[in-house]
Amino acid sequence: MELHLEHNLKNREKRLQKLQELDQANMEQLLLELQQEHQQLVSMEAGSIDLAEQRYYQELIEQNKEQTLRIQKEIDKEYQKQISLVTPKAPVLKNVLRAFLVGGTICLLGQLVINFMMLTYDADFKSASALASITIVVITAVLTGIGVYDEIGRYGGAGSMVPISGFANSVVSAALEFKREGMIYGIGAKIFTIAGPVILYGTVASVVIGMIYYLLG
């Protein structure tokens, strides 16, 4: 009996070498076979009379497990291949174009504010640019509040996410969405859901770069 089981495992090993060529029904069949064998092996192990025999069966169980895993992996791979066959291709060109238009427009708006400030109030570029950012943040906040910015985001994708307006939208939308959970755990905590990581890693990056700058003198 035990020899027969060992033989089975060895035999199957040969078939597993050519796993890729099997179709799914065949693989499922193999899986079923392995399951039955596993049960047999477990009961043999339980009934073994000495340590050597027990070890022998444990080894066979290990082999059985290993073969099962290999087949399962192959079935998963086969399945994922099928998914990629039926998944529609994202309209990359269209999305890229939209991102360009929306992102460009937001930056254009910023530049208009900068130009206005520099020409009319003789502001320097730095303060004008800061004011431009604030303007965009305020406009975005209101658009988020009245439920428009999520539509812009759906259209513009990264074009509405990457500009400072995307940052403002993530702050405002999180605060707005969680107001029902209260001022502290709702707005207070959730407002940082996305702002938190941005501020954290931005600060860390600036400290690391600043430290290098300081050390290099």
Partner: protein
């Protein structure tokens, strides 16, 4: 094993009768393909409440009350109340159960909860533990969105594989008596996980489970010709395609009788829902608004309803775990009276 066929199929001695049902749906759903078929349509996604969660609960309660009213029953006559939703700890259903006052089993099978509830409800009745059970599930787009994805006002582009959580609820009253719609068989689902971890492609993650359950039933009963409809819960366009292909590979041609609830709700082009509807409310409204009434067009009709669920948790998705899928099968038979 008197009440079993083959390896996995339950065959009820006394089939539970679906005595009545009611569906409630949101405004976006009401503009979709089944516009006229819903029993009740929410006036607003907040439904006069202060949160999405309360709106979902109220919608569920409306569905339950409507279904009870259609059957001419009171909530106090229910021996059991079974149900689930997508909110954390299935809280909407628990509040409905609080209002109903009936003995309550809260189920979490994600979007398969309706089928799961029908199986267990029919078991309770067939076992003689009661006469009347209600099964009720719901989902609310905005409540699900903020819990599982992003705040509703955040501007995020959705991928083509993403599905749209349905705002809707369905209540089904099961009765141990005579009636036209009967639950005669069931196939409890196994967890099938094909290693998909993309949480915006749940159709693919669930399709494998649907295939497993459907083939299990077909192997047990060998009755592909005897079934008029096979209806999956919310696989969406992509999952539907995969499921069909996989069944064909196993030698089952389901062309012409296979449908997916997720593809029945919205107008694909105009409503920007990408792969289709999903959520506990998806199959709950489509079964009640479309397929159960449609069965009555024939004197005798058999429908295998396969509720599909992606049992993911936002926590394990962030930890990079894959999505366990499940599919519960329920065989519903319609027999004309007389």
């Amino acid at each position: 094993m008197g009440k079993r066929i083959g390896k996995r199929t339950i065959a009820y001695d006394t089939p539970a009768v679906i005595r009545s049902w009611a569906t409630a749906a949101g405004r976006k759903e009401a503009r979709g393909k089944l516009a006229e078929q819903y029993d009740f349509i929410l006036n607003h996604n907040q439904f006069g409440e202060k949160s999405w969660e309360r709106a979902e609960q109220k919608m569920q309660q409306y569905a339950l009350e409507l279904a009870l009213e259609k059957a001419g029953l009171q909530a106090s006559q229910l021996d059991y109340f079974l149900g689930g939703d997508l909110l954390n700890q299935i809280i909407a259903t628990s509040f409905t159960a609080r209002a109903a006052g009936a003995p309550y089993f809260g189920l979490y099978g994600a979007c398969s909860s309706l089928a799961e509830g029908m199986i267990l409800g029919a078991c309770l009745l067939d076992g003689g533990f009661g006469r009347m059970a209600a099964v009720c599930t719901s989902s609310h787009h905005d409540a699900a969105e903020r819990q599982l994805r992003y705040p509703t006002e955040m501007g995020v582009q959705r991928t083509l594989t993403a599905q749209w959580t349905v705002t809707g609820s369905g209540a089904y009253i099961l009765d141990k008596g005579h009636g036209q719609w009967q639950i005669t068989q069931a196939v409890p689902g196994k967890i099938i996980d094909r290693g998909i971890s993309n949480s915006s492609d749940m159709g693919s993650a669930m399709a494998a489970a649907a295939v497993d359950t459907i083939t299990a039933w077909l192997q047990d009963t060998d009755n592909l010709d005897g079934v008029d409809y096979i209806v999956t819960g919310d696989l969406g366009k992509i999952g539907y395609e995969i499921c069909k292909r996989q069944l064909l590979e196993q030698g089952y041609d389901v062309n012409g009788k296979y449908y997916d609830c997720g593809m029945q709700i919205y107008h694909e082009e105009d409503q920007d829902v990408h792969a289709g509807g999903s959520g506990c409310g998806c199959s709950a409204v489509v079964m009640g608004a479309k397929f159960l009434p449609q069965m009555a067009a024939q004197p005798h009709c058999r429908l295998l309803f396969v509720g599909t669920g992606a049992l993911l948790s936002p926590l394990t998705v962030q930890q990079g775990e894959t999505i366990p899928g499940i599919a519960h099968g329920v065989l519903i038979e319609y027999k004309q009276e007389g």
